[in-house]
């Protein structure tokens, strides 16, 4: 297993980064954050022109047949830009679930791959590989679904809802569900409560929801890496410029040492994210989530402190990253949940 980036991955990264620099710098993300969080135009370009929507879709269904490693690089860049697009929800989570039932979902996979449709997996972001049903009360009976899922990301922009219930995956027309978006902590990844009251549903097949969530958690570590990198880079640029006591504040040892420690945390987060994207085992995913979640939050918090008052303002986009980091820390398991899982995965049993 290699933990380095391949040339193909670096090309993909450059394409995504250039587009985001052009079309959605953090200031632009901030501007639309309170109105229409998602940017459908940007998503169209990413999905169709760069082809990120079909990265994980096999070639026979019209996708690129790429691996999690390529998707991870896209997520690093989307994290660096807190880009308001449904890549994680549609192209990663929903797509991964569909791949388990691909015999009955080929046509939908094709539409997703071409960027003609967007899907959302109706699971709570607060669910985890260890408690996949958390936040959902949905049950299936006679081709109809009933119940509620809270904290669903990407539902309000989805053309298809994919709903796990009783070990199966169902597809539902969003028009048949009630989707209520309330203000979300993370402005760039809104969450909704989705309610089904006897909604007609098509059963697609059996799904291992814990496995899908584990896959999402492993890749989320790369997005968290991207968030941390932006916070670190932006802070470095700031402390080089900002002067107090007739010196750049970055020349003070008290500041330097904090940044050196943050850098070391980020270096290790990169290795952890690469390992999770490459082997995807329960153990590497748990390690990456236990580490990267905390690193993203810590770097964002330190970035805020080191920016002084400006870091506390709405005007500076830093808060978008802090909010994303804190929300992502909870998504797909908290760092504590993942550490707890390591007790058995790494044979570090607890007290009897």
């Amino acid at each position: 297993m290699t933990l380095l980036y391949s040339e193909v991955e670096e090309e993909l990264r450059a394409a995504v980064r250039d587009l985001l620099a052009d079309r959605c710098p953090p200031a632009a993300v901030l501007e639309r954050a309170e109105s229409d969080a998602y940017d459908p135009g940007l998503w169209k370009t990413l999905a169709v022109e760069i082809g990120v929507a079909g990265l994980l879709v096999p070639e026979e269904h019209g996708g690129a047949g790429a691996s999690a490693r390529e998707a991870a690089v896209v997520l690093e860049e989307l994290g660096r830009g807190v880009a308001p697009v449904p890549f994680l929800t549609s192209a990663v989570l929903a797509t991964r679930a569909l791949l388990e039932v691909r015999d009955s979902a080929g046509e939908l996979l094709g539409r997703l791959a071409e960027g003609r449709a967007t899907a959302a997996l109706a699971v709570s972001l607060a669910a985890s590989p260890y408690r996949p049903g958390r936040g959902s009360s949905v049950t299936a009976a006679e081709g109809r679904l009933s119940g509620t899922v809270s904290g669903v990301a990407g539902a309000e922009v989805a053309d298809v809802l994919l709903v796990p219930a009783g070990g199966n995956l169902y597809s539902v027309d969003p028009a048949a569900a009630r989707i209520e978006v309330a203000p979300s902590f993370d402005l760039t990844r809104p969450v909704a409560t989705v309610t089904f009251a006897g909604a007609p549903a098509t059963r697609l097949g059996a799904v291992d929801l814990a496995g899908v969530l584990r896959y999402g958690a492993g890749l989320l570590a790369s997005e968290q890496l991207g968030v941390a990198e932006w916070c670190l880079d932006t802070t470095l640029a700031y402390v080089r410029e900002r002067r107090q006591f007739a010196r750049p504040i970055g020349s003070f040892q008290a500041i330097k040492h904090r940044l050196a420690d943050l850098w070391l945390d980020v270096v290790r987060a990169r290795a952890a994210a690469r390992a999770a994207a490459t082997d995807g085992s329960a153990l590497t995913v748990a390690v990456a989530q236990a580490w990267n979640s905390g690193v993203a939050v810590h770097v964002a918090e330190e970035a805020l402190q080191l920016h002084g008052g400006i870091g506390m303002t709405w005007e500076h986009p830093l808060h978008l990253f802090l909010k994303r980091a804190k929300a992502a820390e909870i998504a797909f398991g908290t760092p504590g949940d993942h550490r707890e899982a390591l007790a058995s995965l790494a044979d570090v049993p607890g007290p009897e």
């Binding site: 010196r247 040892q253 940044l259 050196a260 550490r339 049993p349």
Partner: protein, 393 residues
């Protein structure tokens, strides 16, 4: 792997097989190690004739794998020679110096130590005051060094001394190989908090060193020392560790064997440290991949820093876990090496305190990362352009 590497790998395997054909690893240990060196299988990235074959460094692992069952080096006692002296001699030594020193260094016939730190010059190493004055074809060295690990069994030392006090501190130093058997070299033990004396003070009084023991140009000692120091940090923090190995492994063994000692608090902390150890291991593995691919990343600068933190946190937790109020041995002893795993948790805890000091304090390493890796502005320096002799001391 590239095709050229596969060809090299095949040739290496043949070479190892030929060595095993001609020499019995079960016979005389020294004879075996000498034969391995002469076959170019000591460090394959060194030039031919100097224990190597001029091959890419990552191929060393092929040799190590093939020869894993044969007599191995004592990397504890030989650590400074292998990790610091050898790469410096390779980079700056003359052909004669390389031929004279590298073979017995590698086989362990001659042990090395490092005469760098002084009572007044630790983190600010460039203020060192040990003088070397030229006298014809010789240099006369006077001064005092400190924290010299293993000086008591060393045949040679790498030494930095001041040769020109009239220029600013970084410019007036020269690098030497010091003969530890020369008259005027006085090694005295320094007893440590562990009870033992693994390091020393070394007094140098009128020590005469021939000029052919000089390494690099006169006045270029700081640059030569940088090579040593960079290698030192990689040697201390960069060794490959297996998953759940190293200091974590020592704690985990006890943890698994003694369920009655486990508490919820220790469990939480151990799991967090297990994660940190694992991500540190992974970034070490990534660093080695980068080096092998010819893209040295800055990650190396952080390895020693994380190693020190982890060793200290884990060894502290280990003492708590065992609730051990005893200690294995406070006897004043002259130890050969740091025996982390051969001794008890109390020893490990105390010895690990040195990990954030020796080979560059964690504070200095953070400065290096901040300035050289992250490009932050330097702190104002009062001493940069002042001749060494005029510096307040």
């Amino acid at each position: 792997m590239r095709e050229a590497d596969l060809v090299h790998e095949q040739r290496l395997r043949e070479r190892v097989a030929a060595l095993l054909d001609r020499h019995d690893p079960g016979g005389d240990r020294l004879e075996w190690l000498r034969a391995r060196f002469d076959a170019g299988l000591a460090w394959v990235w060194f030039p031919e004739g100097l224990g190597g074959l001029g091959l890419p460094r990552e191929l060393q692992q092929v040799v190590e794998h093939e020869l894993a069952h044969t007599p191995q080096l004592d990397t504890g006692v030989q650590g400074i020679g292998l990790g610091m002296a050898a790469p410096t001699i390779l980079a700056f030594g003359t052909e004669e110096q390389r031929r004279r020193f590298l073979r017995p260094l590698w086989t362990g016939e001659e042990i090395w130590c490092q005469l760098f730190s002084e009572p007044g010059a630790g983190s600010d190493l460039a203020t060192l005051a040990t003088r070397a004055v030229r006298d014809g074809d010789e240099w006369v060295v006077d001064g005092q060094k400190v924290w010299t690990s293993g000086a008591h069994h060393s045949r040679w030392a790498i030494l930095v001394a001041r040769t020109d006090p009239a220029v600013p501190k970084h410019r007036g130093m020269t690098y030497f190989v010091c003969d530890m058997h020369a008259p005027g070299v006085d090694v005295r033990p320094l007893r440590q908090i562990t009870g033992e004396a693994e390091f020393n003070e070394v007094f140098l009084t009128g020590v005469r060193l021939p000029d052919d023991l000089r390494l690099g140009e006169v006045g270029d000692g700081w640059r030569v020392a940088q090579t040593t120091l960079m290698n030192e940090r990689v040697a201390i923090g960069g060794a490959p560790v297996r998953q759940g190995g190293g200091m974590a492994g020592a704690v985990l063994d006890t943890w698994r064997a003694h369920p009655e000692l486990r508490t919820h608090d220790l469990h939480q902390r151990l799991l967090a440290l297990w994660v940190e150890a694992e991500v540190t291991r992974l970034s070490g593995a990534r660093l080695r991949e980068q080096l092998a691919a010819g893209q040295p990343g800055p990650e190396g600068s952080g390895m020693k820093l994380s190693f020190a933190r982890l060793n200290q946190a884990l060894s502290g937790l280990d003492v708590e876990l065992r609730r051990e109020l005893g200690y294995d041995d406070w006897t004043f002893r002259r130890s050969d090496t740091v025996d982390f795993y051969g001794r008890g948790p109390g020893y490990r805890y105390l010895r690990a305190k040195g990990n954030s000091i020796e080979g560059g304090t964690s504070e200095i390493l953070r400065n290096i990362i901040a300035e050289r890796v992250l490009g932050l502005p330097a702190e104002p320096r009062a001493d940069k352009d002042v001749p060494w002799k005029d510096l307040p001391r």
